[in-house]
C-alpha cells in the first residue's frame, strides 16, 4: 500500500453494475485427522468425532466447526500460519500452530523420516535434535519405545525393527 498502511484483509473491487468480472477468494486447506491411540486391532475406532474446533489467523477467527465420524478437519491456513484450537465448553483446551511448507518430510526409509512421522502421529520421541523436537538421527530409548508403541498399535511384530511393512504403515498413517 503506497500510504504505508498495513492490512491483512482481502482486497475486493467495487464493480460496475454491468461488469462481468469477479474476484476470487481461495483458501489453502490442510487436512488434519484427530485420532486416539491405541484403537482396536483394525484401527476402525480411532477417529475422534464431535470435537469442537476453531481456526485463528492474524487475530481473527477464520473458521469454526465440529469433527464428524472421520475426525477430520479441513483446516484453512492464511498467511504464514494459522492456529487450530480445540474447544471444550467454549474454552480453548489445546492449540496447534500450522504452517504450510513446501518442504516435505524426509524419506520414510531414513531414521529422520521415520521419527518425523512418529512425532506427527503423536508418539513421544523425546526432545533431542537441533530443533528440540526429538527429530535427529540417533536411536535412544525414546526412539525404541515410540517404535514399539507404534508396532503395538498397528498389530505389527514388536521388535523395533523397521520393516517395509512398518514403513508403509507409517506413510499411510501420517498421510505422507
Amino acid at each position: 500500500m503506497s500510504n504505508g498502511e498495513e492490512t491483512s484483509a482481502a482486497t475486493i473491487a467495487r464493480q460496475a453494475i454491468n461488469s462481468l468480472l469477479r474476484n476470487v477468494l481461495n483458501s489453502r486447506v490442510v487436512p488434519i485427522l484427530f485420532h486416539r491411540s491405541p484403537g482396536n486391532d483394525n484401527g476402525g475406532d480411532r477417529a475422534i468425532a464431535g470435537l469442537h474446533w476453531q481456526v485463528r489467523a492474524q487475530g481473527f477467527v477464520i473458521q469454526t466447526g465440529v469433527t464428524g465420524n472421520d475426525g477430520r478437519v479441513a483446516m484453512v491456513v492464511r498467511g504464514a500460519s494459522s492456529t487450530l484450537e480445540l474447544l471444550h465448553n467454549g474454552a480453548v483446551v489445546a492449540s496447534y500452530d500450522v504452517r504450510v511448507s513446501t518442504a516435505t518430510l524426509d524419506a520414510v526409509g531414513t531414521l529422520i523420516g521415520q521419527k518425523q512421522r512418529l512425532r506427527l502421529l503423536g508418539y513421544q520421541i523425546g526432545h533431542g535434535g537441533p530443533d528440540g523436537n526429538g527429530v535427529d538421527a540417533t536411536v535412544n530409548m525414546e526412539t525404541e519405545r515410540s517404535m514399539l508403541d507404534f508396532q503395538a498399535d498397528e498389530s505389527l511384530y514388536d521388535d523395533a525393527v523397521v520393516t517395509a511393512t512398518m514403513q508403509a504403515r507409517l506413510t499411510a498413517r501420517a498421510g505422507t
Binding site: 500500500m1 503506497s2 500510504n3 498502511e5 492490512t7 491483512s8 484483509a9 482481502a10 482486497t11 475486493i12 473491487a13 467495487r14 464493480q15 460496475a16 453494475i17 461488469s19 468480472l21 469477479r22 474476484n23 476470487v24 477468494l25 481461495n26 483458501s27 489453502r28 486447506v29 481473527f60 477467527v61 477464520i62 473458521q63 469454526t64 466447526g65 465440529v66 469433527t67 464428524g68 479441513a74 484453512v76 492464511r78 498467511g79 504464514a80 504450510v100 513446501t102
Partner: protein
Amino acid sequence: MQEHTVRQGDCLHSVAAQYGFFWETLWNHGANATLRRQRADPSVLKPGDVITIPDKDVREVPAATDKRHRFVKRGTPNLVRIQITRDDVPRRNEPYALEIDGRLQTGQTDGQGMVEMRIPPQAKQGTLRVGEGQDVEFYYFDLGTVDPVDTEFGARGRLRCLGYDDSQDFAALLKEFQHKERLPETGALDAATCAKLKERFGE
C-alpha cells in the same frame, strides 16, 4: 474543474459518488483520457492517480411555489462479485451470509461458488461467512483496495486472496506462484506473471 488524488480504498465508482457524478461521466471525460489509457479498469486505480472532476452543469427547473415537487436521484449502485474456492475448487451451493457496511444479505453460492451483492459506491468493508455446522469459514475484506496488477501492492493483494502466504519476500512469493502456474520462475513481476494473476483473481 478540480482534481482528486486517489487514496487507498478509492476507485472511480466511489470518487464519482463522492462528487455527485455518474462514474461514466468522469471516465469518459477528455481530461481523464490519460488515466483511462493507463488503468483500463475503473475499479482498479493506484493511490496517487489523479482524476479530473469537471464542473457540474447546473440545470434549472421552473417550479411553482406552495406545491410539492418530486426529484428523483438516479442511483448508481455497484456490485461485488466474489468466487469462493478451496484449493481452487469452487464451493458450490453452500449457504452464505455477506455483510457490507452493516447491510446483510444471505443466500446460497451458485453452481460456480459465486456470491453477488449490490452495494453503495462508497461501501468500504465486508465480512463473508460461508458454510454451516461442521465447517464455517469467514472472510474479511476491504473494498476498492485492488491496486494495478503491475505494482507490488497490487500483486501481493491478489496473491493473498488466492491463498498464498504474502508475508514472505516478494521475489520468493512470485516464484511460488510462477512455480504453481508453470511460468518461468523469474521472481519478477513480468508481463506473463501479471496476465496470469489477472486471470486467476479475475481483475
